[in-house]
Symmetry: D2
Subunit: 130 residues, 4 copies
């Protein structure tokens, strides 16, 4: 079962078209990703302490509908793919069970010392494989 994070659409996230402006979905995904990683045992401060961080190299979003002010939406996060130095998470935004948005983001693991890409840590790989 995918990790779930629930948000209520805020007033300022809604634009003149009456739906959530596109960039806020990326904000939601980032927060859901942080919570997902923490749920796997990799909170941000710990991975930093271990000397690695992740960088986005690719993200894609498909909209079927738009969330509206006050809507309660569920953001689902799941592992999509794990490569050598990167992993891909899949996202779904649901309102009352209907999928509004699907998305994928590719994260590359990098050293925080500027050393560049490094292999996905074994324990993270195991946790993401779940």
């Amino acid at each position: 079962m995918p990790f779930q994070h629930t948000v209520r659409v805020q007033f300022f996230e809604v634009d003149l078209q009456g739906v959530v402006f596109n960039m806020w979905y990326l904000a939601w995904f980032d927060t859901a990703m942080s919570l997902f990683m923490a749920s796997l045992g990799f909170p941000y401060d710990e991975s930093m302490r271990d000397g690695w961080d992740v960088q986005l190299v690719h993200t894609e979003l498909d909209w079927r509908g738009g969330a509206r002010f006050g809507d309660e939406v569920v953001i689902e996060v799941d592992t999509d793919r794990i490569g050598t130095t990167s992993f891909t998470l899949g996202y779904r935004v649901l309102r009352a069970g209907d999928v509004l948005v699907t998305a994928k983001t590719v994260y590359v693991v990098v050293g925080i010392d500027g050393s560049g890409k490094r292999p996905v840590p074994d324990d993270l790989r195991k946790a993401l494989t779940g």
Copy 2:
């Protein structure tokens, strides 16, 4: 030659990693798109008056680098593809000539009366084909 819109990276757009947080690129693209459309003769209020608007159905971004506080970056916008009821714009974010981000967004033309998809207006099609 693609349409160009220049922005200077603002303090609040930069996150703890020292680079522009991912969602702000979508904000930049949206503003660049508005200005591009206006430059073609289709400012937002006029298309609204003509009864149509556009909705994002897909967007994808690829990062090669991240912009930093105070950087002056150029956002290039170009027509990528025109379909029956949708069109695709391509975006490039450049700093000092280097490409930091490339992106594509697919827009569907819809009636503002809730009538759903409609063909890309002929004059817009012509203007986008440029």
Copy 3:
């Protein structure tokens, strides 16, 4: 007892100084205000249906400290003052019991038909007096 709304500081809300960028406090207050109003029986869609809305005319914030990424902070909302056509809400942002920020916002009640200011509705006045 004041109304309370809890938020967890998100990654993108934190700036290069390592603390929440100032504007996000206004975002938090707006959401806390919406929830406070709903808790009093005045959700946004209902006041709109009743023909009125509120406009900010003044806000002031005092910072004693800054929230950091991952902090869980409580936003307290309380009625500060009720005038003829306006009311003032007080806000406090607390982390582990410590006050980080205090704020006040003055809202004017206006007709959504463009008729301008109108008296604070009696039932809202009663609810705010609590």
Copy 4:
């Protein structure tokens, strides 16, 4: 004559009320402040190199009107007051010469080494006094 920074209201800054959501004024002021400081000879990276930064301790805003999508607005910045360890800047947001918003922000000068408040540097004091 006050320092001036011009912005065009972006689509995502406008909320369901049709006007710029309150928090974005703080974003504009922050950017205008950075440019004002740079114009005085104190760009952010230089003050950081000199070991000091500023922290907001107070801000207040008064709205007379709201900017709308596409509006070109001018943000004026001026020195309001200089204290021992703090200084206050005044802001005005104008559209076609009409004042929409006035604001004041108090900044405290702090060491970036965590040493706390320090006197406003003499050269900054002189530049702010203009």
